[in-house]
């Protein structure tokens, strides 16, 4: 059980739509980054 005052007065990130949106954007960046690197690896290998 939380002690009084133990929680932050700020809205938790999971309930802040903008912060949650940014967190999703970070995940998308990493996924797209990996896809782009994989694409470049394929381009390097496919035409040898």
């Amino acid at each position: 059980m939380d002690r009084p005052g133990a929680t932050s007065p700020r809205t938790p990130p999971s309930h802040d739509p903008e912060a949650a949106g940014i967190a999703r954007a970070y995940r998308r960046v990493v996924i797209i980054w990996l896809i782009v690197l994989a694409g470049l690896w394929w381009l390097q290998q496919a035409f040898i």
Partner: protein
């Protein structure tokens, strides 16, 4: 150029200046002039971030690098998306919430005035000189390729930026960046399409990529731990991470772009736009060079892409040597073209052994062509005494002017000119901001009206613009000096990042620690650069790590001295 191309160049430039000047009414006070009253949508701020980084040097130099070396350079950008996430989590919230105009202003709030002034001064020195280089490189190439006067070309590139930045402030810079960035992307796609459609019948995109791969031009991963090799997977993911964190997180020319966003979240989204699009855009830039190489396998390229140097050789004492090289080059090209056609036919046949033999033959023929070109470049170096001569910057302008239709030529020339113009505009705007906010307002006139600071800001933009013009016009004479100054500028990046790491990552670091650490970091980079052959990307790591270690050591020492004296042990 045809009058239609001239009309496109003049018309687009006039429109950009007119549109920039319209923004004057939104820039009536200091926050509007420097930060657009924080009203810019994230996508426009994001495009402005990308446009400021993409200069004419990218359009002519990086594409030429793609022609010569292929995709290898793309490794330089591998860390960029991760750097953007790190900055969004760390520095952006500090900058945005503290309401600063410059990144260095934040350092005074965290540390002290001397740390702020030193970092801002380093920015002014390095960025001030780089503005000259941003103008001079394309000005020299365009003046030689198009037969224009060098001064007139430098003025054509610089003056629109000076005019709309001076009067329209950051609003003008951002919205012209959006238009120019759109033009550049359309131009790059059009050039790649022109190179692919210029291949002869029977040679498809797959054959072209096969030819590029045979010569190693599709290599995008090099897992070498050789620290003297500039472009490897490791330098691109580790060392470049420090460079991008420094460039996008501590360089005012970038920070100012996302400080104009409507909210902290939008500022982060504007940075993430580069995280999504920078690598694909850079792939497009390099792929253009690669496809132009393939295009010239089946179409006749000049022996030297610099027609001015070629003319000098033909009219000089080395004319007979050059004529011999031209004859050898013509027969080498014919053999390479035949080998290229045989390679494409072997790919279609599906016969593995035939394909391997055709590939080996093509590689050999291509090496013969490269060898003749190398001898021609050496002949230029020997006759001119310019040991660093290369025609890499002339490849794409030559392709545009000799193989593309009227109208498209005008659009692409204006894209190259405007790529320089928008970079200069962003840099002039940030130079003016740092000059006024970090020096004039901080040290000379701390109290004054908004109208007064606005007038000084416009004057500062004009003065920096004149300086850029001056450096660019005298580029030919200052060539080696500019290079030295730019190399000197690269000493700062990692070290400045180290100061910001101390600021946000180590609450116990002191102002004196950060200041001494900054000097030590720059010193250590200078030592590594002069005493070793370690590639410059790694200098950023040396600088940042040096600043953090020395900065923390001095901070600890300062605390111990204060404790021994019985003074306050409070940490700033």
């Amino acid at each position: 150029m045809h009058w239609i191309d001239w009309s496109i160049l003049v018309g687009f430039t006039a429109w950009i200046v007119y549109d920039g000047l319209k923004r004057t009414r939104d820039s009536g006070e200091l926050e509007g002039y420097f930060l657009a009253n924080r009203t810019i949508p994230w996508w426009a701020a994001g495009l402005s971030v990308m446009a400021t980084q993409l200069s004419a040097i990218t359009m002519i130099g990086t594409t030429g690098q793609g022609y010569n070396d292929g995709m290898r350079f793309i490794q330089f950008y591998y860390a960029l998306p991760i750097a953007m996430i790190i900055l969004s989590v760390t520095l952006v919230p500090f900058f945005y919430r503290s309401g600063v105009y410059t990144a260095y202003e934040y350092l005074e709030r965290r540390f002290d005035p001397k740390t702020r002034s030193l970092t801002s001064l380093l920015f002014l020195l390095s960025r001030g000189m780089s503005v000259g280089a941003v103008v001079s490189a394309p000005a020299v190439v365009l003046s030689l390729v198009l037969g224009w006067d060098l001064t007139a070309t430098a003025l054509l590139i610089t003056m629109p930026a000076v005019v709309y930045t001076m009067f329209g402030g950051v609003q003008a810079v951002t919205w012209t960046d959006v238009k120019i960035m759109t033009l550049i992307v359309i131009g790059l796609v059009a050039m790649v399409a022109a190179a692919v459609f210029g291949l002869p019948a029977g040679i498809g995109l797959g054959d072209g990529l096969g030819i590029a791969a045979a010569t190693g031009r599709l290599r995008s991963f090099e897992f070498s731990w050789d620290l003297t090799n500039q472009y490897t997977f490791w330098s691109g993911t580790i060392a470049a991470l420090f460079l991008f964190c420094s460039y996008f997180g501590t360089d005012q020319s970038q920070v100012q772009r996302y400080l104009t966003a409507r909210s902290e979240g939008e500022a982060k989204r504007s940075l993430l736009m580069s995280a999504y699009w920078k690598i694909p855009l850079q792939v497009l830039v390099l792929l253009l060079g690669v496809m132009v190489f393939v295009f010239y396998v089946f179409n006749t390229p000049p022996l030297l892409f610099s027609s001015a140097q070629e003319k000098k050789l033909k009219e000089g004492p080395a004319a007979s040597q050059y004529a011999t090289l031209e004859t050898e080059f013509a027969s080498a090209l014919t053999a390479r073209r035949s080998a290229g056609e045989a390679f494409a036919a072997a790919r279609d046949s599906g016969d593995v052994s035939r394909l391997a033999a055709a590939r080996a033959d093509f590689v050999e023929r291509n090496n013969s062509v490269s060898a003749v070109r190398t001898r021609a470049l050496s002949l230029v170096r020997d006759t001119t005494g310019d040991r660093a001569f290369t025609d890499v910057n002339y490849i794409i302008p030559t392709f545009i002017l000799t193989h593309l239709p009227i109208g498209l030529i005008g659009m692409l020339i204006v894209a190259i000119v405007m790529a320089a113009t928008d970079t200069i505009a962003g840099e002039l705007n940030s130079l003016s901001t740092a000059t006024v906010i970090d020096f004039y307002k901080r040290w000379i006139t701390p109290v004054g009206s908004d109208a007064h600071y606005l007038a000084v800001s416009k004057a500062a933009t004009g003065v920096w613009g004149l300086l850029a013009c001056g450096v660019a016009v005298w580029a030919a004479e200052l060539g080696s000096l500019i290079e030295v100054v730019n190399r000197f500028g690269s000493f700062f990046y990692g070290s400045i990042l180290g100061v910001f790491i101390l600021a946000v990552g180590f609450p116990r670091a002191t102002g004196t620690g950060a200041f001494v650490g900054l000097l030590a970091g720059m010193g250590s980079v200078g030592w590594v650069a002069s005493m070793t052959k370690i590639a410059f990307l790694w200098h950023n790591v040396v600088g940042a790590v040096g600043v953090v270690f020395v900065g923390l050591a001095v901070s600890l020492l300062e605390r111990a001295v204060r404790g021994a004296r019985g003074g306050s042990s409070a940490w700033r």
